[in-house]
Symmetry: D2
Subunit: 298 residues, 4 copies
């Protein structure tokens, strides 16, 4: 399939089941809600190294938040429920409880109930109080700037991690600028996050390594500087490859985000150095979710 000169490979992104939750952080100003959420979702590019994959999902208008203040929604993804509980609690405690004027709410229904402020409340040293509104319990924890308001619980739902797009370009500059635009458009889709810095990852890996202790290593077949040295997947004009990884709540959410990304890359076009779109998979045997690029673009 070729759109505006861009070849879209007949392949698929292979993705995996994850657990996810969404929280809403509000504050006196949008900037302070953002500060808190950015800290809470920092250092969270991959579950293996960071314990979770997390990012700000989007900025919320005061009309969209439980307390009518500016806010942001943030999502966390892990491989299992135990990890999610642990990451949510420690990150909320370190980056939201601490952050001036912040409040913290559940941002998702359905699924399984997990603690949000349930354990954080003990920081109040017995001075904390609670109130039930519409069947949800909220805790008011006295802190130096006033009170930290936090909902007792949130929900954990089934989710999917590892949707991805590989973009093959004639130069690093063209790849980078195209990815900036694609990330901007993909982040407008609800229910997804792009967990890597700026939404893009350039260190694609293969399973295994010549060093026995390492389980993964650079994906040499996609490294442009190794074209003469190793078996390559890259044609001669490709000088840079970047990847966008997408975690989302449902298959449909990830499809929408991947479609937005591909549309952006195609709109930029081969004339501007974007030659080919591919995706990463493991032959389809490991992950149960297969996102076929050409199907998504039909």
């Amino acid at each position: 399939m070729i759109i505006n000169g861009v070849e879209i490979d007949d392949t698929f992104a292979e993705a995996f089941p994850m657990k996810a939750t969404r929280v809403i952080i509000t504050a006196q100003t949008a900037q302070w809600a953002y500060n808190s959420a950015k800290s809470m979702t920092g250092f969270a590019t991959s579950v293996i190294g960071c314990g979770c994959e997390a990012d700000i999902e989007r900025v919320l208008d005061p009309s969209e938040t439980p307390d009518g203040r500016p806010g942001v929604s943030a999502m966390l993804f892990t491989m299992g429920g135990k990890g999610l509980r642990k990451q949510l609690e420690i990150r909320a405690g370190q980056s939201v409880l601490t952050s001036p004027t912040s409040a913290l709410f559940s941002g998702i229904d359905g699924g399984k109930t997990i603690p949000l402020g349930k354990n954080l409340r003990y920081f109040g040293d017995g001075f904390q109080t609670s109130k039930v509104i519409n069947d949800n319990r909220y805790w008011r924890i006295p802190v130096m700037d006033g009170e930290f308001l936090v909902e007792e619980n949130t929900s954990m739902v089934d989710a999917i991690g590892g949707g991805n797009l590989l973009i093959l370009a004639e130069s690093e500059v063209e790849a980078l600028e195209a990815c900036e635009k694609a990330v901007e458009s993909m982040r407008k889709i609800p229910n997804v996050i792009l967990p890597f810095p700026g939404g893009v990852v350039r260190s694609g890996s293969k399973v295994g390594s010549k060093y026995p202790s390492l389980s993964a290593s650079t994906n040499n077949a996609f490294c442009p500087t190794l074209k003469g040295v190793t078996k390559t997947e890259l044609s001669p004009e490709i000088e840079s490859v970047m990847e966008i990884v997408v975690d989302g709540l449902t298959e449909d959410d990830i499809k929408k985000a991947m479609r937005e990304g591909m549309k952006t890359f195609c709109s930029i076009g081969a004339y501007n150095g974007i030659k080919r779109i591919s995706a990463g998979n493991y032959g389809g045997k490991l992950g149960p979710f297969h996102f076929h690029l050409q199907e998504i673009m039909q």
Copy 2:
């Protein structure tokens, strides 16, 4: 001591020895260097919960970076050398190696040599190469967007954590706006970071809790909503207290930052609701570094 109506307490901030390092992250654009550094230093507000305290120190002009590209300097602080090695390696691997167009350099001399790219290089699966320039070894690791250039080692130095200012204000709004300005001025001082979200923390704690399993809990004597309920350190007009925590390389660095912060608060003045500046300590018995507020302002 009273300046522009603001009372400065005759007290001191009590601080502790830490270990620290500084790295320089560069990229094709300032935004991408920032993306990578923000991820690497995210979720790093306190050593206990996050493994380290970290933040972007400042944005660097291309003329200040080893490779002449836009960059940022980031600093990490831990309680000991083992933790610093571990945090540096995992955070560099997850947030810099992965980040498009990034390169990673040591940003500090002296002290003890610790690995920067030394172990990350194995990601190259044998395709990595190295070069020694001016006695420093650099690794070139093939990645999908081209190469990840990383210096083999950086340095770990003695440092100080826990410098702090408490600001007591007539309202939360006034405290927050004053802190924004103080943080902006304090972040211009080199060799220091303010590890909390936006540089400010509002959940000051005391040692101990009524719950035996918790070692710390809300500092009720400084909670304005508890004035009628508990023994308070707050006079009637104080409705909000916020804290700025400072980690720095030397006593002098922390003093300079605290002085900038206090100058900013005094310039805002009692007329605008900033009534008093204090500091947190444990009676002087735990931490060897004592930063006396009134001395710093002389």
Copy 3:
């Protein structure tokens, strides 16, 4: 009267009757509406040199504009009705008719009807069409990007020009930064404009000159560099004086804006170099509107 150390003179700003109108410029994006309005209200600092005094009044939300698009409101002030008609027509023709995707509407009721698109429509060369909605006629003029929609008429109302504040400071830097903040707060008041660049003027003038052909010249009594050379109104510590001129629809509008400005200057305070607030007048014999500073601040 002294507030936060700032002396407010027992004097008044002397202002004059003017004619004014308001128009609403909309476009596909807020930026393009702003581009058009900024051009239309450019080079309009004083009626004598520029033909009118004009500025953007404020940015409008799509929900506030006649066609539901992003927009800005702009106001023009002149000494008389003839000048206003002329300036409105030529400026709308040069800066709004020409500007991509723009539409132009009346932004004021009452007063006297004056042409807005009434004559501009002939640019359509007979291809223009019109429609009456709610008793107002609108013209659709074919242009290259589609159509220029313009309301036939707007209104001209009585207004007031020459409200002003003089700010006396210890340094140019402190005066400038204080004026930036005051302008920001004054521009939030509806029905007023601050016609000078950035809202501030530093070339205050007196009537008359040693050169017979000039009717006005520098107000030497307020020039800090002339303190030793001429009779001065400045005490020794004053090193810089700036002025904010306000045109508004009613006395009350101008009072509100002057009050906001004075509140901002007082909040900055004498500690930050803002020593005194005064106002310009001609002894009260020329302009019928007298805005007494101390009354406004009561």
Copy 4:
């Protein structure tokens, strides 16, 4: 000629001799230099209606200005020398002399000497002083904020007005976004200005009108809404046409700017709705400068 699907007409832009000057405005901050320059070059889209065509040329680094402060360069174009002298003097007097902390310098050599501060100096009422540095005289005029420093003279040079590009697109949105990008790239070329709001004009005109008193009227052959009503130059898929007008010091300057604009339009491409690039001319009989689109792109 077709590039990335965009048809470039075999035609030319017809341009005219003008007179031009360049000045440099500096101030304490880049924003205040910009405020002054934006006022000075406001309402200056066409010589006929506004007396001159003017715009900010570019923002200057402190290292590029005569007094080492932040600055901007601005250019004014008129049909003849008398108009240029008049416009320069009145605009400098109203928008730069008045603007806090500003200074004003010549930004061009060669050509004919014309007054810059030579007459403005009389505002100083005899208190002005002068100094000659490197054969240039500078005036120091006492004003309320300190001093207005202004160079006595600047230069007037031969220049060219009316270079232009017509962009034909499938929709108004696509035309507008493409023009934003083209304007951004064209404004990086030195020695040119794009005098219309945001750099774009949509009210292209033809000579003459059905109304005898009007010498120009809408260019109906390029109006998409008139395709069925009048003889058209537009093919069925064209729904919006916009124009970028370029004034420059030399033919080469205008060629470079037109080339940058065309490159940007072609890079966006037919896939994104940019179908055709043309240019406005009067059959080549009126203006001596002919800018052939296809030649420029070779």
